[in-house]
Structure formats: structure tokens, C-alpha cells
Symmetry: none
Subunit: 147 residues, 2 copies
Amino acid sequence: MARFKGQAAYSVDAKGRVAIPAKMRNALTPEAQGTFTLTKGFEKCIYAYPQDGWKVKEDEYSQLNVNNRKARHLIRMILMWAEEVSLDGQGRISLPRSLSDYAGIGERALIIGAMDRIEIWDPEAFEEYLQEQTMDQESLAEEVMGS
Amino acid sequence: MARFKGQAAYSVDAKGRVAIPAKMRNALTPEAQGTFTLTKGFEKCIYAYPQDGWKVKEDEYSQLNVNNRKARHLIRMILMWAEEVSLDGQGRISLPRSLSDYAGIGERALIIGAMDRIEIWDPEAFEEYLQEQTMDQESLAEEVMGS
DNA sequence: GGAAAACTCCCCACTTTTCCCCACTTTCCT
DNA sequence: AGGAAAGTGGGGAAAAGTGGGGAGTTTTCC
């Protein structure tokens, strides 16, 4: 499965299209077939999962019990924002209005590789996000990963 | 089996027809033969199962114990509202009055992909539903899916 | 029992959106 | 410096969405 890293800012054209950095495109496995599933991020951004990675997520959700109220709600919340998009001949995807509105994306978008997914941020929203994070990288690593 | 995702609002015409989003139509397996079984949702909406998916549901219900009063009642409640509909040449289905009344659907309908089924909501009813749900997505995911 | 009303199921026609392709500019690499 | 790859912008064909007519069937009501 693809592992994404790096970051770059790209322009969003009048038709709502953004280029996916060539480095990340090249990291895609053939199984992804140049296709991503976009969803609302937990933060104010868009998550883009390559098709093969999304498949795994989806399989997890499909095992939830439909007779459980909370499970039904979770599935709705996740899937209603999910949208499948493919790279066009120029290596771009087009962002659905609903998602770019949610993420506050305007003329430019910041694209960040984050392991099994790509994140698409409004550059300013990302700045704000950084400000809010008070803990330094070292203590964070210790808290999250320290045994 | 088909996996549905995404959401879109469509108009309901004077004849009670709604378009099914092309993305969802394309997700249908040939086995579904462009046919859905509609039934009352657990929430104030209509559930639409593709024919092949409905078959599986039916099998589940048929395995319930007929000697159990509550099981008999559940089966009645589900089946009495079930109605089979097919896509017309323009990719639409027509909503039976009884179901659209139940869901409170008027001029417009919100169509949501939810895994093995499609849900059809009145846009305002869906808004109300969202208001009622207090838990945020992150804690919900943690509770339902475990760490 | 029969006429009127309602509902289905095909059509066809029009509008809007999407997507595919081509062309130009900029950046990167040797 | 020159060529190739990456990024940006826009035009046009095709598909999707919307609305309505009209034949045939069923339901309703007197």
C-alpha cells in the first residue's frame, strides 16, 4: 500500500481542480487505479485515501451492525461525505463543493502526505491548526509513542 | 455487492419521481437489475436496498424464530412497508406515497449512500436528525469501532 | 356496472453539469 | 542551455438531471 509524505501548495482552478503532486502520484500502487476516495477529515481538511487503502476502511465499516443506532449514525457521517474521484490526464482531481467548503479551501490548497492518506488543507486553516497545537514535537512523541 | 457512498439533493417531480445519483447507479451490480426494494427506515427516512442486497436481508429475517412473538411482529413491520421499484429510462424511481409521507418528503429529497443501502431523506428532517445527534464523530468512532 | 379519477410506465425535449482533451507556461534535471 | 516533466487554464462533447405528454391499467365512487 502507498505511503505518502511531503507537502506542497497548489492552485485550485475555477473548476475546482487541484493537481496531486507528482511525487505522491508516483507513490500510488497500480491497484489504486489513479482513484481516491475523499472524506471529511477529523480536522478542518479533506482526507484522500487511495482506492486500495479506502477498501480496507470500508471493509471495517461494513462489519458494523446495522441494528445498532450509533453504528448507523457513524456510517452515515462517514459515508455521506465520501466521494470517489479519479486523476484526470493532467494528474488532477476535482474537489466536490461540499468538501472544499467544509475545509475552507479557496484559490490555493496545501497538500500533505500523511502515511496511508493525503490531506488537503486551506493554507491559512493549516496555519491556524499549527498555532493551536501547543505541545512540542518531542513531548508529543514521548506521550504518544513512549512505552 | 454494491457499496454506496456520497450524498446529493434532488428534486421530486409532481409525479413523485426522484433521480438516483449516477454515481450510485453505477455502483449497482448487474444482479440488482436496476431494481430496489424500498422500506421504512429506522429513522425518519426511506431505505432503498438494491435487489441483490435485499435478498440477503430477507434471508436473515427468514431465519428468525417464527415462534417468537416479537420476531413475528418485527417481520410484519418491515415487510408491510416493503415495495419494489425499478429505475426508469432516465435513472429515476418513483416513491410510493405511503413511504414518502412517512419520511415527510416534499419537493426535494436528500439521497445518502450508506454502505449496502441508499437512504432517502427530507432535507429538513435530516437536519433535525443531525441536531439530535450530540456525540462528535471522533468519540463515536472510538466507541463503536474500538481503539 | 360503468364513468371518472388516479396511477404507471414509456416516451421525448430541454437545461445543466461533468469530464475529456488540447494548449500554454513553469519548473526541474542533466 | 535545452529537453522533458509538472502544473495551469479553458473549450466542447457527452452525460446527468429535470419536466412533461400520452397510452394503458387500476382504483374509486356513485
